[in-house]
């Protein structure tokens, strides 16, 4: 019925143009981040593309500089604590939202999405004001708390999605066989949402590890996170050490995304096999 598709027809040209535009946008999206990696292994003091040689000297410089290493370790500490806290608190809240009778549910949902919608600069300045009075600026606890609230929305939504994916009858069945709420959660609910929870934890970690704006305000001279240190250094000079740091951060993100993807495909396989 339809006319045979011919190369050179208007329809063909339209499709080709659409495809070309889409791929151009893809290159625009990826290029800036990908250009940094080759530049970071150049031997010279000035960033050059393409680099004229190969050297890991800027990576060595990073590992030799205690300022960079300390900032990284501090970021890791805050990130691990924030990840654990956000994952536990977020999973509990998601359970209450889906399976519970929560008074003021609408308001709580608004409160969950709040830290995403409110500009981070507003939150950063506001936290600085209160944290200063509570003596939380520059402390591990302060960073962990700030990063936890910022990561929570992503945890809650990921776990909610995992909870919606499986049949609540499975829980009902466990209970009708005499299992207590806690036992049901441990042996039925948690194993079924586990991939969602792990994936939520990975997102929480990336968010905490990359967070720059709030960290910029609540850090002090000797306790700062990696992004805060990057922010300071970018202002002074665009050194190749920064390119090395940026590359390592990007690799970390790729690893977390791949991990999250693997966990998620397992979730899909599992919920499929759990279907009757």
């Amino acid at each position: 019925m339809s006319a045979p598709r011919r190369a050179g027809s208007p329809r063909h040209a339209g499709r080709a143009m659409l495809g070309a535009t889409a791929y151009a946008v893809t290159i625009f999206l990826l290029l800036p981040t990908l250009v940094i990696a080759p530049m970071s292994v150049g031997p010279e003091r000035y960033l050059r593309f393409p680099p004229n040689g190969f050297s890991l000297r800027w990576y060595a410089e990073y590992f030799a500089d205690s300022d960079w290493v300390n900032a990284t370790l501090f970021s890791l500490e805050a990130g691990v604590i924030a990840t654990l806290a956000a994952t536990v608190i977020g999973t509990m809240l998601a359970l209450a939202l889906v399976r519970g009778r929560l008074p003021g549910k609408g308001l709580i949902e608004l409160l969950v999405i709040g830290p995403v919608i409110v500009p981070h600069i507003a939150l950063a300045v506001a936290m600085f004001l209160v944290f200063e009075q509570l003596r939380l600026t520059g402390t591990l606890l302060g960073f962990a708390m700030a990063h936890t609230i910022l990561a929570l929305p992503f945890v809650v939504f990921t776990v909610l999605a995992a909870l919606y994916r499986f049949d609540a009858d499975l829980e009902r069945a466990a209970v009708s066989c005499g299992a207590s709420p806690l036992r049901t959660f441990r042996h039925v609910t948690l194993p079924l949402i586990a991939p969602g929870v792990v994936s939520a934890a990975l997102f929480a970690f990336i968010i905490s590890f990359d967070e720059a704006v709030v960290s910029f305000f609540i850090s002090n001279l000797d306790r700062k996170t990696l992004p805060r240190k990057m922010f300071e250094d970018i202002d002074y000079n665009i050194s190749p050490t920064l390119a090395a740091v940026a590359t390592m951060l990007t690799l970390l993100t790729v690893a977390a995304l791949v991990g999250s993807h693997l966990v998620r495909s397992r979730l899909d396989a599992r919920t499929r096999s759990a279907e009757p």
């Binding site: 500009p119 507003a122 004001l129 609230i149 999605a161």
Partner: protein
Amino acid sequence: MSARPHRWLLGGRHYSSAASLALAAPFLVLAFVTFLLPLGSLLHESLFLPTPTLAHYERAVTAPVYLRVMLRTLRIAAIVTVLALLLAWPLALVMARSTGLKLAILVASVLLPLWTSVLVRTYAWMVLLQKNGVINQMLMASGLVDEPLKLLYTETAVVIAMSHVLLPFMVLPIYSALRGIPDDYSRAAQMLGASEWATFREVIFPLSLPGVTSGCLMVFLLALGFFVTPALIGGPQQMMIATLVSQQVREMLDWSFAGALVGVMLAFVLLLALIFKRAVRLDRFVGSA
């Protein structure tokens, strides 16, 4: 066999109100200390210090120097939103029509930047746009320009870098809307004699509009409060409202005025979020990985 299910499981809602509240309690405490209390204190500073007054707000919205910053912020946010929409729509459409490896590559190219540190991406743009940076080198090599252009610290640079950083927030909602349109619709339209262009105009495009609204709202809201990218790429000449807030706190130590600026920002953001309540959907970002 136990005869009766536990009370907490009756009626689909498994947990009692008390148990639900206990589960939500840690979140509520944390949200109070790190969200409600700080924002409340800042707004309090802006309204009641030293005495109840609206003077700080009046200054924020009438003094020409600050008005200029606000208008620039609105203008840049609007340009970034339109630019992101123009770039995102074709990509989202091609994604929606792809499967397998092609789809995986396209999705990865959107998600990788989305989850890569904003600082890393901003730094990358600074490297690309600087005087002896990659873009100037290419322009000179191709003979288009004789001497390096001043790219960094211009509004154009801010717009390019911000569009890049916010583009995934536009692509994902549009992709998810397009993906939700059943194939049957366009097949039906074409069987009834519609051309491909007519199908696109009358069926596909209107059905993608919820995604477009959602994407535009997210990008516009995020652009309004953007701090890292404009501060580093725009420099002092291209100051946006977030940099102004930061300057008031860090350099002027004027908490009341910073609070008023934040108050204006919050009012604007909340108004938009309430109007487009259904468009603010976080699940599109976490669900797509």
